[in-house]
Symmetry: C2
């Protein structure tokens, strides 16, 4: 099992693909661009979902569900939105099949053609704002703070498991507010929620910022984002929060009566994260032996492996193991006791390393004699013997330590691989030799941004929030710049 996946240095991209498959996270399906999320992968996604859902509810949001299909005409109502989304999408044109008399099997029934084609939602602003029109009459109906967990489809030509798939799972928040200020505050609040989630649960440090006009969500006035760094130095956009202004309110005629009785358009936001986060989680921490999962998102936090030859040994070990299991579970820690007799301990060790289980307890006959167990942590691979009566407390503390350590390692890596460049030469040199994040001055034009992208493949990931104001000159055009922006190659 130890050579189950290629090493990162050998082929980073292949390492990722093989890891996703071999660890039982996901696989390609027979449907082009659509993946199957396997039970172990889905269990991690469920933990992400539950955590985020709690955070959304604590910040006052409610869940709802809107239709999968969107009438084609809805997209044409918001000019930028149709440009950005309606083009590459799955189109439902018929609602019936019939027996194929010539070739056998079934064929599309030409008599069952829809009058208006339906688009499988790539995002739900249009269908949701069409509902909001009926839900919002007065200031009393605001703010409207709604989220939906759903599947969406974007017809991607080049797909990769979790990172870019035709169908993916996500949540999309859609809120409506009486004032611009309130909508802006909501946009920023949700960015903070995403950043908190990434750092505290995924153990992935992120840079918060604003997208340039080029990279903005189609239909938004401003797109905020969090950007994470993968182990190959590339950036991964991990979440976005959009200030929509009154664009969708105007497109769908959503007005409210103010306290003073005036009719005004409402202000909107939308924000989302997707199964792409799974890709970020995997690529940020894992190593050549497999997944490394932060304890807070690990479906199994502790695995117990018995080491024995005789059945009576297993019996005694099981007693101790089951005691640990129930004591740990009582503390809210998820434990698996793997007493299968169909696999050897070595096979199990490799298997749980591959699956990124944070803590492994091994118990053998000698441990029973000495009153100890062997505890191994997945992140550093360190092992040590711990007295049995101290094991539960030790593990409780160890899980916190691992969570912190994984974060710290990723944060150190991000810092080490974040640099500044003061000339285009230096920029290109750094990008080629070291990669990572590069802060550099930019003149603020899409033209320059596009030229740099065409020449180097690096894009502006964001204009960082809270960065120091620093006058300078654009590395490309030499024109004045008010501050550095974040460049990187990206997923």
């Amino acid at each position: 099992m130890s050579k189950a996946i290629p090493s990162r240095s050998e082929d980073y991209s292949l390492w990722y693909n093989e890891l996703v498959k071999k660890a039982g996270l996901a696989e390609n399906s027979a449907v082009r661009g659509s993946m199957v999320i396997k039970p172990y992968g889905f269990a991690i996604w469920e933990k992400m979902q539950q955590t985020l859902d709690k955070m959304f509810k604590e910040s006052g949001h409610e869940n709802a569900y809107f239709p999968l299909f969107i009438p084609k005409s809805f997209f044409s109502k918001e000019a930028d939105h149709v440009e950005g989304f309606a083009k590459e999408c799955a189109v439902v044109t018929h609602y019936r099949l019939k027996n194929d008399e010539e070739k056998g099997g079934v064929t599309v029934d030409p008599d069952a053609k829809l009058e208006e084609e339906l688009i499988v939602r790539p995002t739900s602003e249009t269908v949701i704002w069409d509902s909001y029109k009926n839900w919002i009459q007065s200031y009393r109906d605001l703010p409207l703070l709604i989220n939906q967990w759903a599947n969406v489809v974007r017809w991607e030509m080049r797909t990769r498991l979790f990172l870019r798939t035709a169908e993916f799972l996500w949540q999309e928040g859609h809120t409506a507010h009486a004032t611009k200020e309130e909508a802006e505050a909501e946009t920023k609040q949700m960015l903070e929620v995403y950043a908190d989630f990434a750092e505290k649960f995924m153990a992935v440090p992120v840079t918060k910022g604003v997208k340039t006009e080029n990279e903005r969500f189609a239909g938004a006035l401003e797109t905020y984002c969090i950007e994470a760094m993968m182990q190959d130095g590339k950036a991964l956009q991990a979440g976005t929060s959009h200030f929509l202004g009154q664009n969708f309110a105007k497109a769908f005629d959503v007005k409210y009566a103010t306290k003073e009785g005036k009719d005004e358009y409402v202000w909107g936001t939308s924000w989302g994260v997707s199964t792409r986060l799974m890709g970020a989680l995997i690529m940020a921490h894992s190593d050549d032996d497999g997944l490394v999962l932060p304890p807070k998102l690990a479906p199994i936090q502790v695995v117990i492996v018995p080491i024995y030859r005789k059945d009576e040994e297993l019996e005694k070990i099981s007693e101790v193991a089951n005691k640990f299991k129930s004591e740990l579970q009582a503390k809210g820690i998820s434990v698996k006791f793997d007493d299968r007799d169909t696999q050897k301990p070595g096979w199990k060790f490799a298997e749980y390393e591959l699956k990124g289980v944070p803590v492994r307890i091994a118990i053998g006959p000698k441990d029973l004699e000495k009153g100890t167990v062997e505890i191994a942590r997945r992140d550093t691979k360190e092992k040590q013997f711990v007295e049995q009566d101290k094991t539960v407390d030790f593990i409780e503390q160890l899980l916190d330590e691992i969570q912190e350590n994984i974060y710290k390692k990723a944060a150190d890596f991000k810092e080490e691989n974040t640099r500044t460049a003061d000339s285009y030469e230096e920029f290109k040199e750094l990008l080629e030799s070291k990669g990572g994040f590069i802060y550099a001055h930019w003149d603020g034009t899409s033209e320059t941004e596009e030229k740099i992208k065409a020449e180097t493949k690096a894009t502006i990931r964001c204009i960082p929030l809270n960065s120091n104001e620093e006058e300078g000159t654009c590395i490309y055009s030499g024109k004045p710049s008010k501050g550095r922006v974040l460049f990187a190659k990206a997923y």
Copy 2:
């Protein structure tokens, strides 16, 4: 608010539709046959989901996620399945739109036609068994116990909120087993899980049984079901569990190596419940004033309404209310303190009756003087004064009592409206004059079943499990029968 909805006796069907909309559960969307599940409706569905998900996991199942789209050719692999499902479904034929130069807006790009059309899943047996082919090699891989929460689409021509919609939410379990016996046991186990859920959480008594061949799931050897009775005496199929035999294993060539090294086809089951359960929940208990929710599925179990004229009164009431709120929450009871000053108490009373909140606490200045509160229960509309220091315990007990009472009321109603008929005349007379469930003898043929349906609109809901064996003669054909089956008109 009290006349918000028509009465059941006036127009049962209109009562249901208006109740669903006015209570904020769901509404029709701009997309034909697709509903929007509004936040309050979705909160109830979430409670159902969480409860069921826990029950599935406790019985050893894991969640996963399979693609929304299914290649057309997959359906042709199982002959009955394609007959039952592939015909009325949404078909994706293209993957791109383009600007419409003539009419403006966007139009389907004829150059982006798919080589093979994709069907939006009406159910996922085919795409899942196509994956199982790769997941199952040996007996060690079995049983495979997987569930998925998903949206599905069936192109229904006549739709009704929750009961029959083109798109709906559901869960679908798909399991694979080494032996016939194990698969049959799984099928029955999941029927029991559904029946438990219906009776203990939804407070809806159900009849368990087996479907006739006519009503069997397309591709199953046997379909088990639970049937509930609505307040108009009609039946509603609330959940089904299918024994698939080796049909899908053969269609998708899924074999496993036995311990002895022989290759054999695996045995399958599938089982599902959907947002249709929302319809059952609403129609089973609610009255002319609105929803009646069983406490175990109510998003808000207790609402506190302050009754006051002056701000200082509200202040004192709020102190008491917030104390109750935190004490009740500490016991895991969900509480809302509605201190909005934009609505009067009478309006709030009607609103929470409409929304089916099981318990209402009203607190006014006189209550503060006397150290009491007024407690009203939604199911019986009874009110009483309770001493403040006994309120928390009283409510905890009251919620259990309401849960039981709602179930008992529904069970009594079901019993009262379940009858036997010994001749076709009697059958027709009972069906027209009283409706409800009718047990009658049937000769076991599809021909008789179809004739009775055509003549009376009643269908065989199921051949009940655990019914007494009783020889008799078919009410229609006079041929011999081995036991009574359950007839009813149904949703």
